[in-house]
């Protein structure tokens, strides 16, 4: 259903009519669940006056629409009511919609349909299977068939994409000068525009766009260049990896993408490269790394990780040895490293290093030298191009290139020539050379470096057109704003980080009738009637030779087979000597004052996710903060400036200053201040507006990543920060167990269960259990958001989090070991419900609202709960969550549309907790029963498990000795949390193996 083409499809082109059956057959095995709950809630909804009022209040656009189309919109909202699936066909003007009523083999009422599509992150495709219930996408899973490593799993951002789809704050109407306009009106404008541009060959036309990987869009942009040769395309990604291309340009003479092959790397030396941190490649890297780790956990030949970083990262948390040094020290360290490996000069610079630095460099160099061909020297994408180039040379010299690191033509647009930079555009605008500016997706008014004074310069442009998902800061500075469709509601294509072309197909009709970016560009080209679908077909018919069958296959798979980028390992050009490291940074920061570095926020990235409450409330992996960004500083610096966590401070960089709360981050380089970007937005929406402070305000185009000579001043004000973990150490407990490689081999699982007075309850058939391997957990939070999406977990807001009332069913605990300045270890522990066989909570409940099931589940029955909170008080793991207020019901109807129809929405005064995704267990049980067979191992996959990029979480039937979870439990590293309480949890852990380098065996 949902994959129907938009309304204005010409009858001749009707792909899904033919595609659908294939989809149906392909997805049948995946299909599960029931839409019933939705069907009802929305039925009531659509009837209620509240909903009508909501529509009026929330959808001025909808009001603008003609009466009929508005009714259609309402009907769309009420989709689940009409199981025929009419809704998904939306306001099809003609009878063509009706045949879809009787296609039950596609849409079985109450059964989920899965579509292979993709969401976008920094322009890169994140392949997903979208679970839809009667035309409503509710949950995204990875696409296991997709060739990219880890494509079967997702990161937190991909999980939240479905929330973005329903975000009520997305822009809902084309506007001209802030007033609602029509598509026709806009097209009218473009006609005149085109005439002028044809005369001056587009000399005064500038297009600003963020990362583009879409083959179709690139084709369109080429057409645009062809049509208007003088027109200039600018390309800006506030975080991005632009310098990588500069680096390869220096090293190999052309811009290339750098692809790691961590599954081959026995040693990784990273200089500020947050390999496992959030970003387009996180899932891929995590999958590669964990693949090798899983293979070698037994023999102990684990990848060793040496990290030098100025601010703690998830990569540093995994490392055996970490060196905390100012970001600007990295080139020097690199030079020494390279030098001691015989690449380039610079071994002379050894003197310039501190004791600690020398030691670390020696270790790192030694390791790399000892592992030629299976080592990897990774350099942060933000470090200077020269340094990048040198790193490539090192990898090449050590024979790592081609094995642990390979190169390919840029998957996105190459960002190398100065002319296409944002700076050039800003200057052009200042010089008044720009008549027309088209901003596609990007939000430069918010993200552009402060020194460009972008907003003011932009206002000089006489025609400003913005197309985006939100009416954001940039939109508010433009004459025209065109709402773009969300990836989940539009036809498009994009490449994944590995270059694989992935297909985006609509899972629902555009909620706000937006336009696809393709349609916008097409309009500029004068193709007024082209639909995204046409343009897509145009691109791919060319590649697939118009083969309908092949095209259908692509839609089924969600990607184009064998379209992965061709990788190579070119030889560096010129001699190493040519590389100059014109960076002189004194060993200790004193002379240069403080260093300010800029990093994307791990949860809202560069600000594009600011309005997604799930991500706002997602505890940041290391700080466990929510709803805010901070100035991260070292404990030493804090002492020096008499600052405590939460104190407001003023950061001054190059004459610009910004105020924000400081946070003491263990492992932060002494004199480095980390500014997290992505906050302090003014037009993000109701969720994101006003949260945190705007780090871009002190960022400069010259030094976008690290600036010396920063100053920090205490303002004396205290700001309220909401963190979900107040205590950072284990206080002598062994909640997260660690063992050296040798111990791990020698170790034996926990001794058998302690004796008990209670009878032995038998779980002969199914005994559900979960096993979490802490040796694989990188603390990425994907499980947390996946759980939130699957289980309708409400967002409670900053104040409630501050009060200690966050609702996440699975939390990732973070513990430090060692000193505050440089913790020896940062440990993560995902903590869902333990499903204890002798559960203290159940005994406390006076009304049988939490009881034990015959399959060992600790059942929580919301509708029986009276809210005494005894269970939660008795719970030794504190995994139970309580609805102190009416959290869920207050969501807007649109957000409610995202909810999983198979999970009850909890009311005020009710306890809730992890259920092991019982709705999935039930679905599997019912299917199995109908087919008269037992539930197969791996048939039930919990949401957290399916999201986990390293497969740290395994769920299954421990009564079956061959099940994955049973085998996991045989691990010598197996242990039970708080075993001494004899609660007999079903959720168990495997101890983390410490990097050899850190347990004295190196």
């Amino acid at each position: 259903m949902a994959s129907l083409p938009p309304a204005n499809d010409s009858p001749s082109v009707d792909p899904t009519a033919k595609v659908a059956p294939d989809l149906a057959t392909l997805r049948h095995r995946l299909a599960s669940g029931t839409g019933r709950r939705f069907w009802r809630s929305l039925e009531d909804l659509a009837e209620s006056d509240d909903f009508r009022r909501f529509v009026e209040a929330e959808f001025p656009a909808a009001l603008e629409l003609s009466e009929t189309s508005r009714r259609n919109f309402l009907r769309l909202m009420a989709a689940p009511m009409m199981l025929g699936g009419l809704a998904a066909c939306g306001d099809m003007p003609d009878e063509k919609a009706l045949p879809y009523i009787n296609q039950p083999e596609i849409l079985v009422p109450g059964k989920a349909l899965y579509f292979a599509t993709a969401t976008l992150f920094e322009g890169y495709a994140q392949p997903v299977l979208a679970e839809t219930h009667v035309g409503r996408p509710t949950k995204l899973e990875g696409n296991p068939d997709h060739p990219m490593a880890g494509a079967g799993t997702t990161d937190a951002f991909a999980q939240a994409a479905v929330l973005e789809l329903y975000d009520p704050d997305r822009s809902r109407a084309i506007t001209f000068l802030g007033r609602i306009a029509t598509w026709d009106a806009f097209q009218g404008v473009t006609v005149g525009l085109r005439d002028r541009l044809r005369e001056n060959k587009g000399g005064d036309l500038r297009i600003l766009i963020d990362t583009v990987t879409s083959p179709t869009l690139r084709r369109q942009l080429d057409d645009l260049r062809a049509a208007f040769p003088q027109a200039r395309l600018h390309h800006f990604e506030p975080v991005g990896a632009a310098l990588r291309h500069q680096g390869t340009l220096r090293a190999f003479g052309r811009p290339l993408d750098v692809h790691y092959r961590l599954e081959n790397a026995a040693v990784i030396v990273s200089l500020e490269d947050d390999i496992f941190g959030p970003g387009p490649s996180q899932v891929r890297h995590a999958a590669q790394w964990s693949q090798r780790r899983r293979d070698h956990q037994q023999d102990g030949d684990l990848t060793r990780l040496h990290v030098a970083e100025s601010t703690p990262t998830l990569t540093g948390a995994l490392a055996g040895t970490t060196l905390n040094a100012a970001s600007q020290r990295m080139p020097v360290l690199l030079a020494n490293l390279a030098g001691s490996l015989g690449v380039g000069e610079g071994n002379t610079a050894e003197a310039a290093l501190t004791q600690g630095e020398q030691a670390w460099v020696r270790t790192a160099a030694g390791e790399l030298a000892a592992h030629r061909g299976i080592g990897l020297l990774a350099l942060g994408a933000h470090l200077p191009a020269d340094a990048q180039a040198l790193a490539h040379r090192v990898n090449h010299a050590l024979g790592n290139a081609g094995v642990t690191v390979v190169y390919s033509e840029p998957v996105g647009l190459a960002a190398t020539d100065e002319a296409s930079a944002l700076l050039a555009l800003a200057e052009a605008m200042a010089a008044g050379e720009v008549e027309t500016l088209v901003v596609l997706g990007a939000n430069p008014v918010y993200t552009a470096p402060a020194d460009l004074d972008f907003a003011n310069r932009m206002d000089r442009v006489s025609l400003r057109i913005h197309a985006g998902l939100y009416y954001d800061e940039t939109a508010s500075h433009c004459h025209w704003h065109i709402p773009l469709t969300h990836p989940l509601e539009s036809w498009s294509d994009a490449r994944a980080v590995d270059g694989t072309a992935s297909m985006l197909q609509p899972t629902v009709k555009p909620l706000f009738g937006g336009k696809s970016v393709h349609e916008v560009v097409a309009t500029l080209l004068g193709q007024l009637n082209a639909t995204a679908y046409d343009l897509l077909r145009e691109t791919w018919d060319a590649c697939l030779g118009g083969d309908e069958k092949a095209w259908r296959q692509v839609l089924n798979d969600g990607f184009v087979a064998d379209s992965v980028a061709q990788t190579e390992a070119p030889a560096p050009q010129g001699a190493a000597a040519e590389v100059s490291l014109a960076i002189g940074v004194p060993a200790s920061g004193e002379a240069s004052g403080l260093e300010a570095i800029f990093r994307p926020d791990p949860c809202v990235w560069d600000g594009r996710f600011s309005n997604l409450a799930w991500l706002q409330e997602l505890p940041k992996p290391l700080t466990k903060l929510t709803w805010d960004n901070v100035l991260a500083i070292s404990a030493r610096l804090a002492e020096g400036l008499d600052l405590g966590a939460g104190d407001e401070a003023e950061l001054t960089v190059k004459g610009r200053s910004v105020r924000g709360p400081v946070w003491i981050l263990p492992g932060q380089a002494e004199r480095t201040i980390t500014v997290f970007l992505g906050y302090g937005r003014s037009r993000a929406g109701r969720v994101g507006d006003g949260a945190g402070f705007n780090g871009y305000a002190v960022r400069t185009s010259a030094e976008p990543w690290a600036v010396p000579g920063a100053a920090l001043r205490r303002t004396g004000k205290r700001l309220r920060l909401a963190t979900t973990q107040n205590h950072a150490t284990m206080d002598g407990g062994d909640f997260v167990r660690t063992m050296s490689v040798t111990e791990a081999r020698a170790a034996h699982p926990d001794e058998p269960l302690a004796p008990t007075f209670y009878p032995q309850w038998e779980y002969p058939k199914y005994a559900w259990a979960m096993s979490i391997d802490l040796d694989l957990c990188i603390g990425c939070n994907a499980c947390v958001v996946a759980c939130q999406a699957e289980n309708n977990i409400p967002v409670v807001g900053k104040e409630q989090v501050e009060a200690g009332r966050e609702m996440h069913w699975i939390r990732v605990d973070r513990y430090y070991e060692g000193g505050l300045d440089r913790p020896d270890r940062t440990l993560f522990q995902p903590l869902p419900c333990m499903h204890c066989e002798q559960a203290p909570c159940e005994v406390g409940c006076p009304v049988n609202a939490t009881v034990h099931g015959p399959e060992g589940l600790n059942q929580m029955v919301y509708n029986r709960c009276v809210g005494t909170r005894t269970c939660a008080s008795y719970c030794p793991y504190k995994v139970r969550r309580f609805n102190f207020f009416e959290y869920a019901a207050t969501d807007s109807p649109l957000l409610q549309a995202q909810r999983n129809p198979n999970v009850t929405v909890r009311a005020r005064g009710v306890m809730e907790k992890c259920t092991y995704c019982v709705q999935r267990i039930s679905a599997a049980r019912i299917e199995a029963q109908k087919e008269g067979r037992p539930i197969r191992d791996g048939e039930v996959v919990t949401a957290c498990q399916s999201a986990c990029p390293t497969q740290a979480i395994v769920f299954g039937n421990q009564a079956d000795p061959d099940s994955g979870v049973s085998r996991r439990q045989q691990s010598p590293r197996q242990y039970t949390l708080l075993r001494e309480l004899n609660t007999r949890p079903r959720t168990t852990y495997q101890a983390r193996i410490l990097d050899k380098a850190s347990d004295g065996e190196a």
Binding site: Y758, E842, N848, H852, R984
Partner: protein, 179 residues
């Protein structure tokens, strides 16, 4: 001594409890049977003296208590083992130690209710209207005076001998309770 036509009973008023006790003893020896005595507070042995038989309240209480205890235990056993057996924290279905407390409470309730009910029934309370209230001095019975009641129907009243006994009981006054 005022003589009303056939009063319902004679009410002898005494100043102290001891006088009443003594008098009650004497009258009883004299063969009077239809007696009752009233005092502002309990007097040890008064009831026995005027020949009230022992109360059955302890039995009521015992039965009530037993019913409460057994009923409580049965209810909990039935609920957990028969009606809706559920695995609660791996505990046995019939967790007797846990059932004790509610059962005990119910036992106490049963016993108390039974005892009180028994007392009220045996005493024939509540009874708002009673002939003895006719006697105008009777108001003091709840304050500082002690009374001996002799029903007119008691045969001994008609014998002069019996009548004589009353005169030197040390009664402060003798009242007649009108019919």
């Amino acid at each position: 001594m005022p003589q009303a036509d056939n009063p319902r009973a004679l009410l002898l008023e005494f100043a102290t409890g001891d006088d009443l006790l003594a008098a009650a003893g004497r009258v009883r020896e004299a063969g009077y049977r239809q007696l009752d005595a009233f005092s502002p507070f309990p007097l040890e042995g008064l009831a026995e003296t005027i020949g009230d038989k022992a109360t059955r309240i302890p039995w009521f209480a015992l039965i009530g208590g037993a019913a409460g205890a057994l009923g409580g235990l049965f209810m909990q056993w039935y609920a957990n083992v028969v009606s809706y057996p559920l695995n609660i924290g791996g505990r046995p279905l019939a967790s007797w130690p846990a059932f004790i407390l509610p059962a005990f409470e119910l036992a106490v309730l049963g016993a108390v209710l039974a005892a009180v009910m028994g007392m009220l029934i045996e005493n024939g309370l509540p009874r708002l209207h009673h002939p003895v209230f006719e006697a105008e001095r009777f108001g003091c019975a709840s304050d500082d005076r002690f009374f001996l009641w002799i029903a007119s129907s008691d045969p001994h009243l008609s014998y002069p001998a019996g009548r004589a006994v009353l005169d030197d009981l040390g009664a402060v006054a003798i009242h007649e309770v009108p019919a």
